[in-house]
């Protein structure tokens, strides 16, 4: 399925990441957004508010982030693609509904334009401190997907990808931007609608008698219907059976929650998205995501110039974590260097998956600004010394 041309502003634009995210959402077919203002994410919804009435979308500024994060799920069950947009403090408030979306298999997108925390922190300055929260922030076991753009162009592209992944697997997908990317203005090329492919909702096309809303086929993702189509579905955050009815038994829990887990982990190779540069034959691999995939480049180049064999593994999708690839590399290289605008989050996963074969060195900081390339360079150099 291709994008609806009515919503696609084909052409070259000089816009920031927040605005590009808005355009990505519209191109992806998103037609419902509920949000609550918070720096540095507000520009996304401000543009949505302006653009939506022209493309058949509905935007509502809700009373808080809790309301926003559940209103979008109501809209999804009414048949729309929907997203909400926030930053750290608001993201924390949305955690209960991340779990609800996971449990009810409601496809939806949460955009988090990360700023420096904890708490109110530095509201106008960038960080990547919510990465583990995107993995573990709601109670109970669930799986979600997190995608990290590094430019306004990617804010456009990956917003579309986030919607596609969300529809494909019926999970909440996090677009983990940061203030730097959100407020950075660059050229964004919006392709013609027919070059934008979308994953449509996985509609069930049969008749109500044959429909069990939470019975999945071999790919573990059930088909959906929407309210108003006469299916009289029931959707609950309680543990439920295939009909969607509450079932307070351990076997029901096992069946449901295991499937919710497996539908992501067993597809993790398909979901994985990373970009490699000179990783083959590398001695040191720098693992980056989001804006660090750019701020690390001067450091990588300098190190290469000085003769170090430095590869660059840039994670586009951070969750599910590409365990397999890290494990493979760990047995071939001599060190990982992981620059993060936090005090060490994704590096823990790199460390775990490198299984002691090679060290994983964090180049972290407490946030508020992007890395100085020098620091990453030193991290690369030190990772060699460390041996």
């Amino acid at each position: 399925m291709n994008a609806d041309p009515a919503g696609v502003l084909t052409g070259a634009h000089f816009i920031d990441g927040d605005h590009a995210c808005c355009e990505g959402a519209i191109a992806a077919g998103c037609r419902f957004v509920a949000g609550y203002p918070i720096t540095p994410s507000t520009e996304v919804v401000e543009r949505i508010a302006e653009r939506f009435p022209r493309v058949g979308g509905v935007f509502i500024q809700m009373e808080d982030e809790i309301a926003s994060s559940i209103a979008i799920q109501g809209a999804v069950w009414a048949g729309k693609k929907a997203m909400t947009v926030t930053s750290g403090p608001g993201f924390s408030l949305m955690m209960e509904h991340v779990g609800f979306a996971a449990m009810t298999e409601t496809p939806c997108v949460f955009v988090n334009v990360q700023r420096a925390g904890p708490s109110t922190g530095l509201p106008t300055q960038p960080a990547q401190g919510d990465m583990m929260q995107a993995r573990w922030g709601s109670h109970g076991d669930y799986q979600a997907i997190a995608v990290c753009p590094n430019s306004p162009q990617e804010c456009f592209d990956l917003t579309i990808k986030a919607f596609n992944l969300s529809e494909q697997y019926r999970v909440p997908v996090f677009l983990m931007m940061d203030e730097c990317v959100g407020h950075m203005t660059e050229r964004v090329l919006i392709p013609p609608a027919e070059e934008i492919s979308l994953v449509p909702r996985r509609w069930f096309l049969g008749s109500p008698e044959n429909y069990e809303p939470f019975r999945a086929g071999p790919d573990m993702v059930p088909q959906m219907v929407k309210a108003g189509d006469g299916f009289h579905i029931h959707v609950t955050g309680l543990t439920h059976d295939e009909r969607g009815y509450p079932n307070m038994s351990v076997p029901a829990q096992e069946k449901l929650v295991q499937r919710l887990h497996d539908k992501i982990t067993k597809h993790s190779a398909t979901i994985a998205d990373y970009v490699e540069d000179q990783v083959e034959g590398a001695d040191i691999v720098v693992v980056t995501y989001g804006i660090t995939s750019r701020t690390a480049l001067p450091a990588i180049e300098r190190a290469r110039k000085e003769g170090l064999k430095v590869g660059h593994l840039r994670l586009v999708v951070v969750w599910p974590f590409p365990e397999h690839r890290i494990r493979e590399l760990a047995s071939r290289i001599s060190a990982f260097v992981v620059p993060e605008m936090n005090m060490g989050q994704v590096v823990l996963e790199v460390e775990r998956c490198s299984a002691g074969k090679v060290p994983a060195t964090l180049v972290g900081h407490t946030g508020g600004t992007v890395h100085v390339p020098e620091d990453i360079y030193q991290g690369i150099v030190n990772s060699r010394k460390g041996r």
């Binding site: 009515a6 209103a71 109501g74 729309k80 959707v235 609950t236």
Partner: protein
């Protein structure tokens, strides 16, 4: 002729509310003498007689004993999170304006944790019907104090009596802008049915508060007897006062219960105002939302 009546008949008439219920889920979880089931009869009858398209009617509940209502109704039904039925319903309604969206939930759910959504939806005149079952307590979790528990009443978290005033919910709803506000009790089944029907047919934020016994965790603990005793109390202490000033309808511990239709007024719904303004400002550029789209 008498005999005729007693002939075994495979085609015994079936309670018409059953067609609106998921009978495969019976028996329900509600205690003996719980008033929630009674209100479901009223809702079913009201919905039936409203002429609304059942395919286009969705029901949303939060969490609680009343929150289970959604799961027993044979409609598109959503059992959401505690307190969040109204914002879920907001998304549902705005994303498909053809739907009639009903929120059916408990006093704790809608007025404690969910209080903010309640007042904002009323303010926006969001086009949803809210049915709130006021059993003066949190039933599901074991009878804790609620914002609707009258002063002095005992609850598991106010073992020495409650020292907070209860909300006057009709007054709260009116002050925020609800266009239809009524209160009845589970005893007043005909009135309740009529009120729900009116609410369902009203455009905008309509609100029906229904007092119902929770014998297990409220009445017994407060030595008020069982569900039946509460129902008898409702019969004997309710006063129908249509159009009463909502300032005068606050509830007190075993006090008089003012019931009736208090507010019935017209103002543009969120959707109507949105459509009007956007059309005014954008003219032909305005593309209103339609059903579906994902």
């Amino acid at each position: 002729m008498a005999e005729e009546l007693y002939e075994l008949d495979e085609n015994l008439p079936v309670n018409p509310v059953e067609s609106l219920l998921r009978m495969d889920r019976m028996p329900h979880i509600w205690c003996p003498g719980c008033g929630i089931g009674t209100t479901v009869n009223c809702f079913a009858q009201a919905l039936e007689s409203s002429g609304l398209d059942l395919r286009k009617t969705a029901i949303v509940s939060g969490i609680g004993c009343t929150g289970r209502v959604a799961g027993y109704l044979n409609l598109d039904s959503f059992h959401t999170t505690h307190g969040r039925a109204i914002p879920f319903a907001t998304g549902l309604k705005l994303a498909n304006p053809e739907l009639k969206v009903v929120v059916y939930s408990g006093d704790g759910d809608l007025s404690a944790i969910g209080g903010n959504h309640f007042i904002h939806a009323a303010r926006r005149n969001m086009d949803v019907t809210v049915i709130l079952i006021n059993n003066s307590t949190y039933g599901m979790t074991g009878g804790q104090v609620a914002p609707t528990t009258p002063m002095t009443a005992v609850a598991s978290t106010t073992p020495y009596g409650n020292f907070e005033s209860a909300f006057n919910l009709p007054a709260l709803a009116e002050s925020c802008g609800a266009v239809y506000v009524a209160r009845w009790t589970a005893f007043h089944v005909r009135h309740t049915t009529k009120a729900i029907k009116e609410a369902l047919l009203k455009k905008g934020f309509s609100f029906v508060e229904i007092l119902a016994p929770c014998p297990t965790l409220y009445s017994r603990r407060n030595k008020l007897g069982d569900g039946l005793a509460q129902m008898v109390y409702y019969r004997e202490n309710s006063e129908i006062r249509h159009g009463a000033d909502t300032k005068d309808v606050a509830l007190e511990f075993q006090g008089k219960i003012i019931v009736g239709k208090f507010v019935d007024r017209v103002r543009p719904t969120f959707g109507e105002a949105m459509d009007r303004y956007l059309r005014e400002r954008l003219g032909a550029d305005y593309l209103p939302a339609t059903a579906g789209g994902a």
